[in-house]
């Protein structure tokens, strides 16, 4: 003990990860702790790096479509769409209306499964080991069954093509999708109760990991994480890509920007997705599901560069493409939302306990396939 009567302590450096269940993959946090409080935190990534961009630059334009599935392996459909959208923008391809509706249906189902699993994993992070996530996985399974019926694969769907989608939705699969959507609100009610009626859970997430609105914008935070901090910005509303201007839905926005808000936003977004799905499944028109003029073989894109982006479940997923008019992209860059959302991880964790850092990381909702590429 020192002369002032205060116990002198040393800070302790701990490496959380890469093998740690709550890091959602091979991700490491170099944490400096003062007692139990975090005083410094540096994210370390790259364990899953396979130079996805270089692989794509050595392949034909369509060749990297299946590889985009592996970016955010929860949401292969939206990854496909973002890439297809960027190429279509660069090549000036017009997508038929039915294909746009199918894309919306697939993307919103992807959002449902991503958000339900994100919330489910939060409970695991809090210590409710695997029972709550089981409910989320049970519902996710139904969506995966639907994806399998349509595309032939559960997770690595490889479903979109430039100018449309690979296979059409038949009446049987449309009925399957309608059943899914009808059931979903009941599951959400049950799940929301798990969140809101749990005293321990509220105590652990409220006022933890606050992200101020100004920092969220300045640090390029996108998706549910930005909206939880009060940034009213949804690319579906701003860019109105696809046919999103035809649907009636709201953009939920949080107030405090704490961990609780980030999860509540996801629940509210699922409710809006259900609304979009109901409208899309009701109004889906007949017609071609892929633009007939787009060649699958020897596909070329006029020289130039372009940036295309969509509102993926985790945030803004963008592709920056440079073409020289050849059969391959000259430059192919992915703007992964969860990689950039990690920029402020340290800011959110400082001053909190190490157990909170785990929940805060969970609330960023990362997938390492996308962070490391």
């Amino acid at each position: 003990m020192s002369a002032t009567g205060i116990i002198e302590t040393q800070t302790l450096e701990v490496s959380l990860g890469p093998q740690h269940p709550s890091t959602h993959g091979v991700f490491r946090m170099d944490v400096v702790l003062d007692g139990e409080r975090v005083v410094k935190l540096k994210p370390v990534m790259g364990y899953l790096h396979r130079n996805h961009e270089q692989l794509a630059e050595k392949m034909a334009w369509l060749g990297s479509m299946p590889y985009t599935d592996r970016l955010d392996y929860f949401c292969s459909m939206t990854n496909n769409w973002a890439y297809a959208l960027a190429v279509e923008k660069l090549a000036g391809i017009k997508v038929p209306e039915r294909a746009e509706y199918i894309r919306v249906i697939m993307a919103e189902l992807t959002r449902l499964l991503n958000h339900s699993c994100a919330v489910g994993f939060l409970f695991s992070d809090c210590g409710a080991w695997f029972t709550p996530i089981l409910y989320a996985l049970r519902e996710r399974e139904r969506i995966l069954d639907f994806f399998e019926t349509v595309s032939g694969a559960r997770m690595m769907c490889n479903y979109m093509r430039f100018g449309g989608v690979r296979v059409d939705l038949n009446d049987e699969s449309l009925t399957m999708a309608r059943d899914l959507v009808v059931r979903w609100p009941a599951f959400l009610d049950e799940f929301e109760k798990l969140l809101l009626a749990n005293e321990v859970f509220l105590a652990r997430t409220q006022r933890v990991g606050i992200l101020p609105r100004e920092l969220a914008i300045n640090a390029s935070i996108s998706g549910p994480m930005a909206r939880a901090s009060g940034v009213e910005y949804d690319i579906r509303k701003v860019d109105k890509y696809g046919v999103y201007d035809r649907f009636d839905f709201r953009v939920p926005v949080g107030e405090k920007g704490d961990t609780f808000d980030r999860f509540m936003i996801r629940i509210l977004e699922m409710r809006e997705s259900v609304k979009i799905l109901e409208q899309a499944l009701r109004n889906i028109p007949a017609g071609p599901f892929i633009a007939p003029e787009v060649k699958l073989r020897n596909f070329r894109v006029p020289a130039g560069d372009g940036y295309g982006r969509i509102e993926a479940p985790k945030g803004e997923l963008g592709f920056y493409l440079v073409s020289e008019g050849g059969a391959k992209p000259y430059r192919y860059h992915v703007r992964p939302p969860s990689f950039i959302n990690l920029t402020v991880l340290e800011d959110m964790c400082l001053g909190h306990k190490v157990a909170d850092a785990v929940i805060i990381l969970g609330s960023v909702d990362i997938v390492l396939g996308e962070v490391d590429r």
Binding site: M45, G46, H49, N51, E53, Q54, L215, I217, N218, A219, S220, I221, S222, V231, Y233, V238, G304, D305, G306, Y307, R309, E316, G318, Y320, V322, Y330, R331, H333, R335, F339, I340, L342, T343, V344, D372, R373
Partner: protein
């Protein structure tokens, strides 16, 4: 030269709005785009580099949006020579925090040094890695066993084969 508000507005009306600036002016232009009340590019969405090996330059591209005014994107481009010592660009991390990790990635994969970046380290490759793999003239090692610290038998084999690329492969290329 810093563009006027009208010039930027005209650019935004085109299909692929882009603004190429000199390296010396990058910070001033970025600050102008961010603070000008009629433009307010407060959201730097995407940062990346492109290796134009034929023009002997590396281009760093920033895609800017405005959350406040809901317009964009504006591609802010800046070019630097390819040679590693001269491949330097002022960092925009002090202007937009979101550039932090993305500039680190461009440094890691392209070898662009960002002057004024608070924490310029490799981010995806490991620290001992020597090259910048997204450059167009990058030659991948023939055997990944050699990375990152060859020793023992592996080092002997690497030396016998003449460094990264085996001599037989170089012969065949001639």
């Amino acid at each position: 030269m810093i563009p006027t508000v009208e010039q930027v507005r005209e650019m935004l009306a085109t299909k692929a709005a882009s603004l190429t600036v000199e390296r010396e002016q990058l910070l001033a232009v970025a600050n102008f785009l961010k603070t000008e009340p009629q433009l307010q590019f407060d959201f730097c969405s995407c940062v990346t580099a492109v290796d134009y090996i034929k023009q002997d330059c590396i281009e760093v591209v920033y895609h800017l949006y405005s959350v406040a005014l809901k317009h964009g994107p504006l591609a802010l481009k800046v070019r630097a020579p390819r040679a590693l010592e001269q491949c330097r660009v002022p960092s925009l991390t002090p202007v937009w925090r979101g550039c932090e990790f993305q500039e680190r990635e461009a440094f890691d994969l392209f070898g662009v040094k960002f002057d004024g970046h608070p924490d310029l380290r490799r981010i995806l490759m490991w620290d001992e890695f020597v090259d910048h793999p997204m450059r167009k003239d990058y030659v991948p090692p023939m055997d990944y066993e050699w990375e990152p610290t060859p020793h023992g038998e592996t080092l002997a084999r690497a030396k016998a084969q003449g460094g990264v690329v085996p001599a037989s492969v170089l012969e065949a290329k001639k």
